[in-house]
């Protein structure tokens, strides 16, 4: 019987091939892997102060994720991703001025929303001497939304493989067909498209640290309005840019790695945001890893955001009370515990997310009454073979 290679030896071989400069050519992964993660995140109920009338329950969402990666021959790899999402609950429908003079939220539908989303994406990568090229196509469908998308990417190593430059392009064509359109006087069918490009540069700094900077630009056009708001009118195109920076450092004495990320974002709806997050990947021997994480996010409001819907304005005027376009900040903290047993990895993650206008570094002239808070738990399994 053929002896099964030790996981440690496979890991060393895999990482050696993955290291720039070690192998004569770039190479696909040595092993195949099958991964599954199930998650639930539940948004906190609104308070009576935020919504004096009707139900207070918001979204409760279950997510199933699958991923399969495998080498194909000497120079190719295959990746298949499948996701299934099941959600129920209610979302903000419109906002009005409450008895105390503060904005209050009215949630959609007495019976709530039931929806599910399925997504499938297939990609392949071809490995060359100093880099690789790849592409993927995908399809996502839910009760009221359909997206077909594709992308290509290429990367090349330079400077004795200390520097890697990658570029990527993607395009998505989406169809929107809101439920109960005739009952609630919503649009029957609309579409939108999204084109995106990104450039990413990674650099090995020294034996224990690396740095990455990336810039992306996305152009959206078509129906960008939320059809489930009682009144919501947005421009039919949006340009957005994002600049991300990441730093990784290994701490020898602690057998741990420190991750720091920062992103700047701006779009021509008027939203600017800053995102900073860090995590500490602490090893306990070869079988246990504990990863605490902290994230801080804050954004400015869109130019046409209003925290109280103005029904006296013409329907063609841009306005939206969508809390996602308001000025707010958000803090989230989480903990992941990962254990390795043979060819299996198991992870358990808990995360708490709190959005509040007081957390924003930007000026908040119109705080939203519908900011979201949620708790997420995820369980993941990974098998290498």
């Amino acid at each position: 019987m053929k002896a099964k290679p030790s996981r440690s030896l496979l890991a060393i071989s895999t990482t050696a091939l993955a290291l720039p400069g070690i192998a004569i050519a770039d190479a696909p992964p040595v092993n195949s892997s099958l991964s599954y993660q199930v998650s639930n995140y539940k948004e906190d109920n609104l308070t009576r102060e935020e919504s004096p009338f009707g139900d207070l329950g918001r979204y409760d969402i279950d997510v199933h994720q699958f991923q399969f990666i495998s080498p194909i021959g000497r120079n190719f790899s295959l990746q298949v991703d499948a996701n299934y999402e099941d959600l129920s609950g209610a979302s903000p429908w419109f906002t009005t001025l409450g008895p105390s003079g503060s904005p209050i939220v009215n949630l959609s539908g007495a019976s709530g929303i039931e929806d599910s989303r399925s997504e499938l994406s297939v990609g392949t990568r071809y490995y060359l001497e100093n880099g690789s090229i790849g592409g993927n196509i995908g399809y996502s469908e839910e009760n009221d939304y359909r997206a077909t998308y594709g992308g290509i990417s290429a990367e090349r190593h330079f400077n004795n493989d200390l520097t890697t430059v990658s570029i990527s392009l993607s395009y998505s064509s989406d169809d929107i067909f809101p439920t109960d359109a005739e009952i609630f006087n919503r649009v029957i069918s609309e579409d939108k498209s999204s084109t995106s490009a990104a450039i990413n540069i990674s650099q090995i700094i020294n034996q224990v640290s690396t740095f990455q900077t990336a810039f992306s630009i996305t152009e959206q056009s078509g129906f960008l309005t939320d059809p489930y708001k009682l009144i919501d009118t947005r421009p039919d195109n949006k340009t957005q840019i994002a600049w991300s920076n990441s730093y990784r450092r290994y701490i020898r004495g602690s057998d741990a790695a420190w991750h720091v990320n920062y992103r700047f974002y701006h779009d021509d709806f008027g939203v600017t945001s800053h995102t900073a997050d860090m995590s500490w990947h602490q090893n306990f021997g070869n079988t246990i890893q504990v990863i605490p994480m902290f994230r801080y996010y804050n954004q400015s409001a869109a130019d046409f955001f209003t925290n109280v819907d103005d029904f006296s304005r013409p329907a063609t005027d841009f306005q939206s009370s969508d809390y996602r376009l308001s000025a707010f900040g958000a803090i989230s903290a989480g903990l992941t515990v990962k254990t390795t047993v043979g060819d299996w990895d198991a992870t358990l993650t808990g995360e708490r997310y709190l959005a509040n206008e007081k957390y924003s570094a930007f000026s908040v002239s119109q705080p939203s009454a519908a900011l979201v808070r949620y708790f997420r738990v995820s369980l993941g399994l990974d098998f290498s073979f």
Binding site: Y36, Y139, A242, S273, H281
Partner: protein, 72 residues
């Protein structure tokens, strides 16, 4: 103006990379550790991208955007 400032920061960051030390191939063992990857858990990263996309106004950064969703 903000776009010009962003591009200037980007160019400045690139110039700092020229100060990096030469790391020979046999010295890159630590860099190959799983915990040193840009994204140590692909499914966790994809889930976070999706959740934050549906709860916040921002998206994008490290790669071109993928498919959309209703996500109300």
């Amino acid at each position: 103006m903000k776009l010009i400032r962003t591009l200037l920061f980007f160019t400045f960051s690139l110039s700092l990379l020229a100060a990096c030390t030469q790391v020979r191939p046999w010295e890159r063992g630590i860099l190959a550790k799983e915990e040193m990857a840009w994204r140590t858990n692909a499914l966790e990263g994809a889930l976070n991208d999706h959740i934050f996309f549906s709860k916040e106004a921002s998206s994008g950064g490290s790669s071109a955007a993928g498919g959309g969703c209703g996500c109300n």
